[in-house]
């Protein structure tokens, strides 16, 4: 006696066998992003980069008295594993170059927090020839903490706000860097000269994250072309030819 296994599913009608269409896929993505954001906000690593005066208030914030670890925030020594770039005060032009290099090495999503008045408008050093005045011209900033310098409580309040923003999917300044790279590069070149370039291929990363817009490239990114052999993205077709 033979039993026929009944075929209950038809590839054209059963949902398990069907490729989801674009609308369904974006919905799925939203749900996954929501879960990922919730997870991200619970474990954040600050890059251990002491740039200015504010660095002196970080040890109390992180060690036993105020203990940031209970919020899930810890220092991390390498940029590749870090989530938060904390700019703790004034940035001299010389440091800004290193900060931009470091920022571009961090993996997305990444968050920049400007701590202290000097990152907002120059603060105490508003007429100093050596320090930059507004951080947001050179890097996309998620949050500023005002004060000279902010107290540990203020820093923790800022962290809580940042956690909330990440949880709600509002801390998306890093996308702006890819979407408007030309604007940021223009400001960087205005300060460092037209020869300024970094080894990180921001334009290719923008394509990778699907954040490439018409503002990603422009007249300022065109200046990077002379370093193309070394670093910068070739046109998409050329690139594929070389890969072949």
């Amino acid at each position: 006696m033979t039993t026929n296994i009944p075929i209950t599913s038809d590839p054209n009608t059963d949902i398990a066998c069907r490729t989801p269409d674009m609308q369904e896929r974006s919905l799925l993505r939203k749900v996954i992003d929501r879960i990922a954001d919730r997870c991200r906000s619970r474990s954040l690593f600050i890059l251990h980069y002491c740039t200015g005066c504010g660095a002196i208030e970080l040890p109390p914030t992180i060690t036993s008295r105020f203990d940031s670890e209970r919020l899930g925030i810890q220092p991390m020594v390498t940029p590749r594993q870090a989530d938060i770039l904390l700019i703790t005060g004034y940035l001299s032009v010389k440091t800004l170059k290193r900060v931009i290099l470091t920022y571009e090495q961090m993996s997305a999503p990444k968050y920049v927090v400007g701590m202290g008045s000097c990152t907002i408008n120059g603060g105490m050093y508003w007429h100093s020839y050596a320090t930059i005045k507004r951080l947001q011209e050179y890097l996309p900033v998620d949050m500023y903490m005002a004060g000279c310098m902010p107290r540990p409580e203020a820093i923790q309040q800022g962290f809580l706000q940042l956690i909330d923003n990440i949880d709600k999917g509002k801390a998306i300044a890093w996308q702006d860097y890819y979407q408007q790279y030309d604007k940021y590069l223009a400001n960087q070149q205005a300060l460092f000269g037209p020869d300024w370039h970094t080894p990180t291929d921001v334009i290719a990363e923008a394509r990778h994250y699907e954040l490439f817009t018409e503002k990603t490239t422009g007249e300022h990114t065109a200046l990077l072309a002379k370093y193309a052999s070394k670093y910068v993205t070739l046109q998409h077709e050329e690139h594929e030819e070389i890969v072949k």
Binding site: K97, G122, H127, S128, Y129, I132, K133
Partner: protein, 178 residues
């Protein structure tokens, strides 16, 4: 101040240097003015005879009206316990002076600092490379002819701060005091 009040050991040193003028400013502070060509001899004598082992600092002052740089060598003796500040004036052009590195090792740091901040060149200094302003392309920033605010205004962007509440106050005759 007469030579009698001065410690004899210092008075003996000062007698050796021609055209030296000294005044006592406050307790333990001696201000000495002398010709630039005699300064290395004074430092050598102070170190050798009066125990002035510690070069506290070398300061540079820009005097645009005189067209001169003033160099001030602050020396401290752990024995005499008096600070001697030796002032010399060197012409801004060509802005060169001799290094005292062979007498006081710490001079290397201060001379390097003055070189990048004022543009004075010290002959014989072991290291005249830039230390702080390695990526600076402008003129030496400590010169009086360099305006920090002017540089900031043409390099950095300023955000005009005029929120609505401030405009209201200004309409009523108030505002930010400049």
């Amino acid at each position: 101040m007469s030579n009698q009040q001065l410690p004899e050991i210092l008075a003996a040193v000062f007698r050796e240097i021609p055209n030296l003028v000294f005044t006592e400013q406050t307790a333990r502070r001696l201000r000495v003015e002398l010709r630039p060509d005699t300064l290395p001899a004074l430092l050598e004598l102070l170190k050798g005879r009066a125990g002035y082992l510690h070069l506290s600092a070398i300061s540079c002052v820009d005097w645009p009206e005189l067209d001169e740089f003033e160099l001030v060598y602050h020396l401290w003796s752990y024995e005499v316990k008096t600070l001697v500040s030796a002032h010399i004036y060197i012409p801004k052009n060509p802005g060169r002076y001799v290094s005292v590195y062979d007498i006081f090792t710490p001079a290397a740091f201060f001379e390097r600092d003055i070189h990048e901040m004022f543009g004075v060149y010290f002959e014989g200094s072991p290291d005249m490379e830039r230390f702080i302003l390695t990526e600076w392309t402008g003129p030496p920033p400590m010169l009086k002819s360099f305006s920090s605010l002017g540089y900031v205004e043409e390099t950095f962007k300023w955000e005009q701060y005029s929120p609505d509440w401030l405009k209201e106050i200004q309409a009523n005759g108030g505002g930010i005091v400049e």
